[in-house]
Amino acid sequence: MSNVFIAFQRNEETRCIVDAIMADNPNAVINLQPAMVRIDAPNTLVVRRSTVEEQMGRQFDLQELHVNLITLTGHIDETEDEFTLSWKH
């Protein structure tokens, strides 16, 4: 089992995205670096649009992740409602 991770620039928008990820992924771990936040999770990590919208207080299109995304690992599955990273081994 290996970790997947996703990393964002640190700003007020990503603060809500990170909170949403932590709420939906109980085994995720936050790693804070200068200007950057990385979230590691064993095997799989999901970003759920509805949770992000709750945190942000506005409508959110998952493709907006592109604006603040720094890097990630794992295979991606993207729909309107969920953005998932996973390893298959």
Binding site: A7, P34, A35, T71, T79
Partner: protein
């Protein structure tokens, strides 16, 4: 009147309609004429529609999000420039890391743009063509934003001004240049494996995280902002590379040995180019982020390990040079910095000996190797410098025919011995720094016997300006080469101590904080 609300297309259908469904089967031209490069590499693709676009970005979304990133980035660059942000860096030695980046990396972004534009035309499936065209746009964006970010430094510090001219000529820059020339002159599938996968997935974090975190730790907001802005594009690049690998391997089992060989080759070539980053992290950042060894353990051993565990189900194994690269993590940064210290008169950035406290940090980060193998030379050089005899090596080095780095690497099991490898080909000897580089040559010697090797070209007399007169009594070949490099002697090169950069930075900082 009834308002009929049409159901919106879902993301996957909308993407397909606007990309692959706009493709067509040619009715009056042969497919092999339209796509002439798809067969010669021996890769077999039976069904291009099996390529899964991981990021379903259509052009409208692309422009929207890229425009937003650009506005944010240029606002930061403006603020940085307006605020004399360059005076906030830890100290002016840091600026030399940027000179290394601008001369070595930014031109590669431009070549990536060219390479992806080419494969964006030549690949047989609409899905990968679209993704490659977006990547081609991203890469020229990176080239431009890097140049913009660093242009402010060019107003104040020496060595930035001829980066483009120097990338094609200067001895250490043939290392990154030849790396990318090798990639863009390969076929479309090898290009995708070399750059899309090996560089953009396996190795990318080892280039960007050190430079961008280095910028953040050293007060360089412009480079940091560029870095984060580019990284969000990189996530798309990484997924394209990984998806291409999966797609190629799933199309035909015959593709496996070809792909494995490319992974072996390009891991090694990319790893060799990253030698420059290793030395930057350990020696050029006044405020260090982490050691090269630590970066390698995180981004190569852990992340790379997870990746190759995942690809094992296709029969892919870790690259051939992996074990050696892991052994050498204790050595290459020191060997590289010592090289630039040796040839400090010939590079358009400054070099220096690490201070006692910096050597203390190196000692702690490299407990098995720094004090034993590397401290002695730095202490000796510092002593000589104090006595007014700063060491500059004035004889040209032997280069590796494949990676074109001077032969500075040592045997993996004996760091006191330079590693020498050689091959005989077409009546001549060729020399290499490692089994990895020799293996690459032996597989395709015709590709590498035509290499433009800086040291050999200098001796052939091809590195002088038209005005140079080799018959003149006072002809100084090294000085003439520097003229040809468009390097200003005494300004762009030599030690940081006593440089114009050092004096200016101090004077300006004093001005900013006193009356």
């Amino acid at each position: 009147m009834d308002m009929k609300v049409n159901k919106k297309l879902n993301m996957k259908d909308r993407y397909n309609l606007m990309t692959r469904d706009l493709d067509w089967e040619p009715s009056y031209q042969k497919k092999s004429d339209i796509f002439p490069y798809l067969e010669y590499e021996g890769i077999k693709i039976h069904d291009w529609s099996k390529f899964e676009d991981p990021f379903r970005l259509t052009m409208d979304a692309y422009w929207k999000y890229q425009a937003e990133k650009e506005k944010k980035l240029y606002a930061i660059i403006d603020a940085f420039n307006q605020n004399n942000g360059h005076l906030q860096v830890t100290d002016a030695r840091y600026v030399n890391a940027l000179k290394l980046f601008l001369t070595g990396v930014s031109p590669l972004e431009y070549m990536a743009h060219r390479g992806f534009a080419h494969v964006g035309r030549q690949l047989g499936g609409a899905g990968p063509r679209v993704a490659c065209l977006m990547q081609s746009l991203d890469e020229i964006r990176h080239s431009q934003t890097q140049i913009h970010s660093m242009s402010n430094y060019n107003k104040f510090y020496n060595g930035f001004q001829n980066f483009r001219h120097q990338h094609d000529r200067v001895w250490y820059l043939s290392v990154p240049k030849s790396f990318f020339d090798d990639a863009v002159t390969a076929g479309p599938f090898e290009f995708m494996v070399s750059i899309g996968f090996a560089f953009e997935y396996v190795l990318t974090n080892l280039l960007f995280v050190p430079f961008v975190s280095g910028a953040a730790y050293n007060g360089d907001m412009a480079a940091m902002a560029f870095g984060f802005s580019a990284q969000s594009d990189e996530a798309r690049h990484m997924t394209l590379g990984l998806e291409m690998i999966k797609f190629i391997l799933e199309q035909d089992p015959d593709n496996l040995p070809i792909v494995q060989r490319w992974i072996d080759k390009w891991f090694w070539r990319g790893y060799r180019v990253l030698t420059l980053v290793a030395m930057m992290m350990d020696y050029m950042l006044p405020k260090r982020v982490m050691s090269w060894k630590e970066a390698w353990e995180t981004y190569a051993e852990q992340n790379g390990g997870a990746l190759f565990a995942d690809l094992a189900r296709y029969g892919i194994t870790v690259p051939a040079g992996w074990t050696q690269a892991c052994k050498d993590k204790d050595h290459i940064s020191h060997q590289a910095w010592a090289t630039f210290y040796n040839y400090g008169a010939a590079a358009p950035f400054h070099t220096w000996t690490p201070s006692e406290s910096e050597m203390q940090w190196l000692s702690e980060k490299y407990p098995d190797t720094f004090d034993k193998y590397y401290r002695p030379r730095f202490e000796h050089w510092a002593k000589e410098q104090k006595e007014g005899k700063r060491f500059y090596n004035t004889t040209l080095p032997m280069l590796c025919q494949t990676c074109q780095i001077p032969m500075v690497f040592t045997e993996p099991d004996d760091p006191t011995k330079i590693a020498y490898r050689e091959s005989d080909y077409s009546g001549m000897k060729y020399h290499f720094c490692s089994d990895g580089c020799k293996g690459i040559f032996d597989h395709e010697p015709e590709k590498y016997i035509q290499a433009w090797m800086p040291v050999h070209q200098i001796y052939q007399g091809n590195c002088f300006t038209p005005e140079a007169d080799p018959t003149a009594a006072d002809f100084n070949p090294l000085a003439e080469v520097l003229k040809w490099y468009r390097m200003e002697m005494g300004k762009d090169n030599l030690d940081f101590e006593g440089s114009q950069d050092q004096k200016n930075f101090k004077a300006w900082r004093d001005l900013a904080t006193a009356n």
